[in-house]
């Protein structure tokens, strides 16, 4: 009974996986016969300035997104964990962006960032900060950070909900006894909340990491297509443009394998760290 699933898995996961590696060792334009190229595609990658820039952008994206999602997500969860009037409403509202598709979010934010009728620039006008007006996606220095804001906006509610679930598993006795021992709010956060939340922090970090590495194509593609002048190029958008605009299929396959190695190493490192901390997730 596993057979149908195994066939689908083999056909659509394992075979392309092996075939892709074989392809990365050849030169292939998508039409003519592939010719053997050894590791020359990988050698070329090491000197490809655009690829190295894309890798750098990707790493900035990963670090910024993971840190912001965790810090803001935990903060939002702490707010939503209080006994408040309208708490269910605030919780639902915070989760709405998570349910939207990446393309819709991308279009929405490309309108917000639009220099002519954008919400952001005209909002800055309204509150008298016209000096801060920018072409948010056209300026090579800040376009990447504009995209990071969008990704955090979309996923914040998701991470906050996971933190919220974690916060509710902390027994209130711990807070009471900490209070008896004279711990202030900050000390209770530092010595009760944070240690008890370690497994949740790990889960959120892993989810954020994997998302930031391999699920940033749609948002970048909709917002900037990697421009201006490759300033927001990430590995996946570069791979896509190599494969389907330049027809360099095998070069794109090599890019994919380099990304796979990086993600694999990061995952193994994190899992090893979790084992050492005795966190069973």
């Amino acid at each position: 009974m596993i057979l149908p699933a195994a066939i689908l898995f083999g056909l659509f996961y394992l075979w392309p996986f092996v075939n892709g590696f074989w392809l990365s060792l050849h030169n292939w334009d998508g039409f003519s016969d592939p010719t053997w190229a050894g590791f020359s595609n990988y050698m070329r990658l090491a000197h490809d300035r655009i690829f190295l820039g894309a890798l750098r952008n990707n790493l900035i994206f990963v670090v910024a997104v993971v840190v912001l999602k965790n810090v803001l997500g935990l903060g939002l969860a702490l707010l939503l964990n209080r006994a408040l009037l309208g708490r269910a409403f605030f919780r639902a509202a915070a989760f709405i962006p998570v349910t939207m598709s990446f393309v819709a979010v991308g279009l929405l934010w490309s309108w917000i960032y639009n220099p002519v009728f954008g919400l952001l620039n005209s909002g800055l006008d309204l509150i008298g900060l016209a000096g801060l007006k920018r072409s948010w996606l056209g300026d090579a220095d800040i376009a990447l950070y504009s995209i990071i804001v969008v990704d955090v906006w979309k996923w914040l509610g998701f991470h906050a909900v996971i933190y919220l679930a974690g916060l509710q598993t902390i027994p209130s006795e711990l807070y009471e006894s900490a209070k008896m021992d004279g711990a202030g709010p900050l000390q209770r956060f530092r010595h009760v909340t944070v240690p008890m939340m370690m497994p949740i922090i790990f889960i959120n970090t892993i989810l954020g990491l994997s998302g930031a590495f391999v699920r940033n194509f749609d948002i970048v593609y909709v917002l900037t297509k990697g421009g201006p002048n490759h300033a927001t190029e990430v590995v996946l958008t570069y791979m896509m443009s190599k494969a389907f605009q330049d027809g360099a299929m095998s070069y794109a396959a090599a890019i994919g394998y380099v990304l796979f190695m990086i993600v694999g190493l990061a995952s193994v490192g994190l899992l090893a760290l979790m084992r050492r901390q005795r966190l069973d997730v």
Binding site: I2, A5, L79, L84, F90, A93, A94, L108, F117, W153
Partner: protein, 143 residues
Amino acid sequence: MRAVANLSLNDGAAGSRRRGLMQRLGMRGILELGGIYAALVLVLFETLYPLLWVLFGSLKTKQEMLSNVWGPPSSLVLQNYADAWRIAGMGSRIVNSIFVTGSALIILVAVATPCAYAVARLRSPDAVLWSQSRLRPCWCRRR
């Protein structure tokens, strides 16, 4: 405090409840609560206003999109919806979406259900390996 006490004389139960809140929380508690609400309203605004803004935009004319960026539409222009339906062919796109989602769902259920059953019941070295695995998904956990 005296003002609050006077208030409670005037409107009875509601006022005394309000005084109870004041006494229970104290000045610091009320400031804290205010801060939490301010933060939540900020989150609410940055989450929902962009969505509301798109709804407003869909009801504005092109000129009003440029001249009146933040506010609600001055009159409801439903022409945009008619254009989206007619020019962009929304109808056939919705049918396509339903077809893709429906087919994927049918294949998924047909393939994943027997697989989950088999994986849960399997007794073989592979099955032991699977049940020990840290990668084992939570829906396959036995006992």
